[in-house]
Every structure is written in C-alpha cells, then in structure tokens.
Assembly symmetry: D2
Homo-oligomer: 320 residues x 4
C-alpha cells in the first residue's frame, strides 16, 4: 500500500492530533503517502481531502482537539454514503484508511471493510467506552482534567464544610467517574455499571459527619443521572445542601498528557504497519499493556467495554 | 497593640492563606502575637480561637481555600452577636482584628469598629466586587482558572464548529467574565453592567459564520442570567445549537497565582502596620497599583466597585 | 495611516502573540491593513513581509512564543541597515510600525523614528526590565512558571530537609526573582539591585534551622551570579548541602496568563490608536494601572526601570 | 496481623502520600492499626513513630512529596541498624512494615525479611528503575512535568530557530527521557540503554535544517552525561549553538497525576491485603496492567528493570 488516508470522527479527544502525527510520520518513514480528510465521514463523502506532509503535523502533538476537524455524520450509516466515500478515496488514489474516533467511527470503518476497502480504527474518545482496548486516546487527559477540578473544589469544600456533587462525562461508561473519583479522594463514586441506593449514599455522608468529616465529594457519572437530579434525590434523605458542578466540555479539551501522546503514537504507528502489509478490518487497542489489533467486525459485534470492577471495590475500601 | 486576631469570612478565595500567613509573619516580625479564629464570625462568637505561630502558616502560601475555614453567619448582623464577638476577643486579650472576605465580612468589621473595636478589612473574593480596591485577593487566580477552561473548550469548539456559552461567576459584577473573556479571545462577553440585545448577539454569531468563522465562544456573567437561560433565549433567534458550560465552584479553588499571593502579602503587611499604630475602621485595597487604606464606613456607604468600561470597549474592538 | 507593520524582536515572551492579534484586529476594526514581518529586524531588512488577516491571528492568543518569529539582529544598529529597513517598509506601502520586544527592539524603533518613520514600541520581555512601564508583556506568565517550579521543589525540600537554590532569569533586573520569591515563600531572595552578604545569608539559614525549620529556599537572580556559584560561595560558610536548580528557558515559554493577554491586548490597541493618528516615536506602557505612551527617545535616554524596593523590604519582613 | 507500620525512604516521589493514605485507610477498613515512621529507616532506628488515623491522611492525596518525610540512611545496611529497627517496631507492637521507595528502600525491606520481620516494598521513585514492576509511583507525574517544560521550551525554540538540549533525571534508566521525549515530539532521545554516536546526532540535526526544520529538541537522560557535556561534545561536530536546560528537582515534585494516585492506591491496598494474611518479603508491582507481588529477595537479586526498547524504536520512526 502506498497511499493511505486518515480522518477523525465523533467527539474529539485530546491526543487525536498526536495520533494523526504518528500516522503521517510513520507512513512517510515507510515511504508511503498520507492524505488527511477533514470533518470525518462528512468530509470523506464531500471529498474534503488533501495531502499531508511532515510539516503539516509539526507543532501539533501538544494540541487538544483535532486539526482535521471532526463531525458526526449519521448519513454514513447508509450504503449510499459508504459507496460515495469509497469513490472519493479511489479518486485520490487512497488504498487504506485510518479512522480515529469512538464506536460510531468504528461502524463506518466496519462498513468500509465490508465493502472491501481496508480500514483500521483507533480508539479516540475521552469516555474509554470502546471495545477492544483497555484505554482510549484521551481518557488519561480527561481524568487529569477532572482531577484538577476536583482538587480545586476540595479547596472550597474544605473551607466550608459542604457536600459537593460533581457530574462527569463518560456516556454510558463510568470509567471517568471511577478513576477521577479514586484519584480525587471522593467519598463516593456513582457509576452506571453498579446499582446504588440513595439511602445508603445519604447514610454514608451522615456517618462521615458523625466522625467529624468536614466535607464530602460525590462524583456522579452522567450515565447515571445528572448532577442536579442526583442532588434533588439526595435532598429527600436529609439536610445535605449539596452544591452541584457539571464539568461539561472542559473535559474534552486541553493539551494531552504524556500517556495519551505516547498511546496515540503507538496506535498510529501500528495502524500504518498493518496497512503497509495490506491488512484492514482491524481496530487497534492496548490490552494488558501490549498493543493489539482485533477484527473490527468481531469486536463491534461481540466485544464489550468492561469497567474495572476491582477498582470499584477498591474505591469502597479506601473512600469513606 | 500587642495581640491581634484574624478571620476569613464569606466565600473562600485563593490567596486567603497567603494573607493569613503575611499577617502572622509580619505581626511576629513586629513583636506582636496573632490569634486565628476559625469559621469566620461564627467561630468568633463561639470562641473558636487559637494562637498562631510561624509554623502554623508554613507550607500554606500555595494552598487554595482558607485553613481558618470560612462560614456565612448572618447572626453577626445583630448587635447581640457583635457584642458577644467583642467579648470573646477581649477574653483572649485580642486588641485588633483583621477580617479577610467580601462585603458581608466588611459589614462585620464596620460593626466592630462602630462598637469601638479596631477592625481592618482585606478584600478577599474571586468576584472583584468590593469597593475600595481595584483588585481583590483571588480574582487573578479565578480568571486564570476560567481561562484554562476556555482554552480547553476552544479545542473542542475548533474541532466541531459550534457555539459555546460559558457561564462564569462574579455575583453582580462582570469582572471575571470581562477579563477572562478578553484573555480567552471570546467572541462576545455579556456582563450585568452593560445592556445587551439578544438579536445583536445572534447577528454577530451569524456574521462570524458568514466570514467563515468555525466557532463562537460567548462568556456570560452569572449576574446577567444563567448559561442555560441564555442558550434558550439565543435559540429563539436562529439555529445556533449552543453548548453550555457552567464553570461553577472550580472557580473558587486552586493554588493562588503569583499576583494573588503577592497582593495578599502586601495587604496583610499593611493591615498589621495599621493595627500596630492602633488604627482600625479601615479597609485595605490597591488603587492605581498602590496599596491604600480607606475608611471602612465611608467605603461601604459611598464606595462602589466599578468595572473597567474601557476594557469592555476594547473587547468590542478586538473580538469579532 | 492606512497600512501598518508589526514585528517581534529579541527574546520571545508569552503574550507576544496576543499583542500581534490585538494590533491586527484593532487595525482591521479601524479600517487599516496590517503587514507582519518575520524574524524581527532581520526579516525587515530582508523583506520577509506579508499581509495579515483576521484568520492569521485566530487560535493564537493562547500560544507562547511569537508566530512572527524573533531574532537578534545587531546589524540594525547601523544606519545602513535602518535605511534598508525603511526602504522595505516603503516598498510594501507600510506607513507605521509596531515593534514588540525588549530594549534592543526599542533602539531599532528609536532609530526608525529618528529617520522620520513612525514606530511604536511595546514592551515584550519576561525580564520586566524596560523603562517606561511598570510591567512588560510576559512577566506575569514568567513569574507564574517560576512559581510552579518553586512549589514543586518545595515538595521535595519539605520531604528531605534541605537547602535549595533556584536560579531565575531577569538579565540585570531582579523582578522575576523578587516576585516569584515572595509568592513562593522563599526564605531569601537575592537580587542585583540590593547588595547582599553571604555571611548573613548563611546565618539566616542557620537561624531557621535552630528554630526547627526543615528546609530553606533561596531564589537567586541570574544578574547576581549563577546558582552554582552561589552554592559554592555559600558552602564556605557552613555545611549547607545546597541543591541548585537553574530554571532556564522554560521561563520564556508557556501559554500566557490572563493578565499578560489582557495587558498585551491593551498595549496593542493603544499602539494602533496612536499610529492611526499618525503618531510615532512612542513606547507604550502601564503606569499606576493606566496605559501610557511616552517619547521613545526620552524613555531610552532618561528612563530607567526601577524595581519595587518596597516589595523587597516586605520580603524581608515575612520571609524568615 | 493487627498493627502495621509504614515509612517512605530514598528520593521522594509524587504519589507517596497517596500510597500512605491507601495503606492507612485500607488497614483501618480491615480493622487494623497503622503507625507512621518519619524519615525512613533513620526514623525507624530512632523510634520516630506515631499512630496514624484516617484524619491524618485527609487532604493529602493531592500533595507531592511525603508527609512522613524521607531520608537516605546508609547505616541501615548494617545488621546492627536492622536489629535496632526491629527492636523499635516490636516496642510499638508493629507486626509488619510497608516501605515505599526505590531500590535502597527495598534492600532495607529485604534485610528485615531475612531477619524474620515481614516487610513489603512498594516501588516509589520518579526514575521507573525498580525491578518487579512496569511502572513506579511518581513516574507518570514526572514525565508530565518534564513534558510541560518541553512544551514551554518548544515555544521559544520555534520562535528562534535553535537547538535545545534538555537534561532529565532517571539515574541509570532512560525511561523519563524516552517517554517525555516521545510525548514532547523531541527530534532525538539519548538514553543510557542504547549507544549513540555524536556524529549521527549532528548529522540528524543538519538533515532537519536542510529540510527547513526551524528547531531541534534533544532530550538527554542524566545517565548518559550532563546536558552541558552533551552540548560541548555536539559543538565539535558543527555550528549548533545548543541551549541547555537542566530540569533538576522540579521533576520530583508536584501534585501527582490521576494515574499515579490510582497506582499508589492499588499498591497500598494490595500491601495491606498481604500483610493481613501474614505475608511479607514481597514487593508490589504492576505487570501487564495487573497488580502483582513478587519475592523481594528474588526480585532484587535476579530482577532487572528493562526499558521498553520497542518504544525506543518507535521514537526513531516518528521523530525526525
């Protein structure tokens, strides 16, 4: 394979630029060419495509977001859209495609693969909810961003003796809540993967107070309910005056951490190695600290992201 | 005066610990003693008071919040509460008091002064809304915290071509919104001090789009309306899909900036100098880059914080 | 004046991009055109000049360094170089020039002015050593960068009971050392503007130890001597095992703080206002919290940056 | 086992406090008691020991350094010191010990184990050079601290077209250099585990220049040589004007990252689980993303930290 394409799709995540950079540089190192496609599948269908050089990815590794822009484009779910996309790729002489994004992006890559066009998916989302990998590009940055906010809120909580509820992202997954909650020393972490009982939540806050604890931080994954709903529910069980913070889109941005940049680089390099050998229909991941490639169809159909429940148990044992 | 007290009151602000540290160290440098009062006026009335040594303020200058804790205590509005507070101060042999906080805290200091007890107010609040000073302790940290969030949100905004609305604190004042909005390169800044017209807001976003601008950031001060209300109103004027971020309590926390730590130190030192000379009934501020002391009664009754409207005009000229 | 130029010169400083952005946007707001000159005076003489649009300064306000690049170019000290520069400016139809930089840059602006070409200097350097202003663009960012490092070193110092010496930049000025030293709670600050006695430095460390102080931080301005020389000298006075950290070029980089971005914006806007009126031969500054413009010849010949010695006295009173 | 002790030893690392906190909380959760030993083995021998409660570890998880202080204490290499330490432990009724530190700390734990006292080692050092684990507590924070500095230096490098050499810590290991170099987009990474040829280094810089590259960053591990020596050597091969930054002790401090806090928590919890079962003579680690416990004698005698050479190869392929 001599010419490959790359696009970013779905919600952006810190480290996407590092992945693009690694794909471009590794491909050029291997004597291949890389074309960048703007605005994800929308740009693919529209032919918003250009050649990328080494200098196009200079001074980008440290930047949040994606310089190829991203977009959600449900039209790519139709066969018509997919064939149009392949037509564009062929027009530019592109023989293989790297897609960086979440599960919607993988669906597109799977569709291209089914049509015989080699596509490889890289997991890029802060939510860490993609099957086929332990960690996604952007997750580490995101939990550190949340952590900074928790640390700041604790300053205020400590000064005032209050209960604070912090709603974090994660879509249906509790990974951001769990990791940032443990790291932030939150008293309680509420995630969609584990049922909770509001009466017990209230009792635990009360126990802390009885022990002289001056403040309480509860991290709630958006997949459970909103922070405000949670506060309203909690108020039914006692006089807790909870303050709610909804961290919102700050969690998606920021300069990627070292781990995210290295992970993105490793994923990008592996994707090029596989495409160079003519392999497609795969998604890259890290499993047990090793870079792996899995069948994208099988992964989407039978894989499932699983949160680390041992970590959840741990949180129960050291947060009280 | 040989023995003084210090308390922090109202909403906490980064740099309060630096102010306490400066008061303690300067007083000890001058051969005086300092007593710390926990939980603001509530702790004053309750007699939650202890002597502070140099080592009590060690390793504190970099910490957010206030290690003396803070509390709102409306009961101090009554003469009964005030006299009880003075009784406690006298019990501990305290001859003068430094109060760090917002206007509620100043009210208490004024009341003590009217009862003949020398009290000095230091402006400590992120909102920058205290009369008698150009800048308050905590404001600089707060605008930098907001700025980090704006920078992060811009990563995502740039990647996706969207309108983002960021609601920031400030109570009735627009200072946080104005400074962070200019520094963050926000397209529009909405503050309570200046009327705005939603139709014009919408038109300005549309003009940007027509010029090819991919995203738009609007910073809204909480004193105007909530970010969600703003988005709902805006939606009446066009198809803007605005995403709202409410920055919340993260704005109150964090390690203070260099400017806030130095400002707090200068304020604290001046307060001790004045109390040493037996002077009370004053509030400290910085005006035109000089540390000043004003009559606290006069300042509260006739002073008024004024936002820098020249800066607002500037924002109109370089943000579009 | 309808067309102006802008260049950055000398050592780069965080906020230079914000200044360029403000100049470009304000000029366009006023119906003027702006040309960017790469690599300072070197690029001016070489004619490395291009028109800047609003989108050229998009997504730049948060970036460290200068996207117009900078260079030292002593050849601009000669009349020949200056006349060549003016020739290039005229070739592009440029009628006035904004120069952002340190005193070397001001010299160039003064020379152009003497040759009848209107030039305006903006103070851009982390060192805060430019006459005609209380603060320079980049100084606030720099002291916060140093402060972060001091805070990190204190973690280690506290854990180990050691003396740490931190060498900071500032050329001949002690401003960075003084502000970051006070903000960082350093025990001693050594600046070129005030003589020091190594025997007293050693005695002060010893006094701290005798009081039970576990560690000691000394901030040394590079204008005094290097950190390593300082440690060697100190070692002659006792068993201090000082660890030396030379902060180096990290102090020049990083995303500018809110204050630096706002200051740079205000300076840039004022420069355009003056050029629009046909005025040159000036340098912009902030004095007592007000934006001012001074005669550049007079400022360079008779002005002198003065460190705030009151702040130095304050440091003596609260750092021990 | 009902009562355990904990100490931190050797160079401090961010996350040590999180480890102590996890040990204290997990032990209390299991109905055990924890005693904290100040100043590592020195404090153990001196009996500087106290009971730790849940509130002693409150508000500590986010702090750099170690609140139990650390010290190097070669005297613990002697049997006399070791037996004195065990005597102190018995005096306080302590039945097992957790040691957080580097290989010197492990030596002490091994000695205690050989004398029949159950001790468990947790790998705590920024250098990532401990056998028995893929990652140490503090490494992730350290590479992010270095990365921030590299990002800052690149601002200046980009503005000026220069070669920058950054000397980073790591003792005999190149892990900090390798990870931060890849993440920082450094053109070259020089580590002790792989021979290098200065002529090739120079040639690579020259190639970059010939391609139009404006600047070059080289990260040098301290285990190879000092940054200044490297610059002097490099200067023999061409006109490179390299600027050197020695990052120094800032790399040891700072608030720990999310990953370091979670890793430290997992290590601490596992240590308590093992001691509760009466097991000692082990060291905890993470291997292939799973928490493991290995025999400490075997690990020290036969284990060896191995840098990830695949990652080094990767750096060669995407950094040029």
């Amino acid at each position: 394979m001599k010419r490959i394409g790359i696009l970013t799709s779905g919600g952006d995540a810190p480290g996407m630029n590092a992945a693009i950079r690694a794909v471009v540089r590794k491909a050029i190192f291997e004597g291949m060419e890389v074309y960048g496609i703007n605005y994800g599948y929308a740009g693919l269908v529209a032919g918003d495509i250009r050649k990328l050089s080494v200098s196009d990815v200079g001074d980008k590794i440290q930047r949040g977001g994606t310089f190829l822009y991203s977009a959600r484009y449900p039209e790519f779910g139709s066969e018509e859209g997919q064939l149009k996309g392949i037509e564009q790729l062929k027009k530019f002489g592109i023989e293989g495609l790297v897609v960086v994004g979440g599960d919607g992006s993988y669906m597109g890559a799977r569709a291209l693969t089914k049509h015989g066009f080699p596509a490889i998916g890289l997991p890029g989302t802060i939510d860490n909810d993609i099957p086929g990998t332990d960690f996604t590009i952007g997750f580490d940055t995101s939990i550190n961003t949340v952590l900074e906010s928790i640390d700041r809120i604790r300053d205020t909580a400590t000064s005032h003796e209050r209960t604070f509820i912090i709603e974090v992202m994660g879509r249906g997954a509790g990974d951001i809540a769990l990791w940032s909650g443990i790291a932030g020393g939150a008293e309680q972490v509420i995630i969609p993967e584990v049922d909770f009982n509001m009466e017990e939540v209230a009792a635990k806050i009360q126990e802390g107070r009885d022990r002289g604890k001056k403040h309480s931080l509860i991290v709630v994954a958006e997949g459970v309910m909103s922070g405000n709903e949670f506060a309203d529910e909690l108020a039914k069980y006692g006089d807790f005056h909870a303050r709610v913070t909804v961290l919102g889109h700050v969690q998606r941005g920021g300069s990627p951490t070292a781990k995210d940049r290295v992970l993105a680089s490793r994923f990008g390099v592996r994707a090029v190695e596989l495409l160079k050998e003519g392999k497609g229909g795969l998604c890259i991941g890290i499993r047990d600290n090793k870079i792996i490639a899995s069948d994208i169809v099988d992964t989407l159909e039978n894989g499932k992201h699983r949160i680390d429940l041992d970590l959840y148990d741990l949180s129960k044992q050291i947060s009280f």
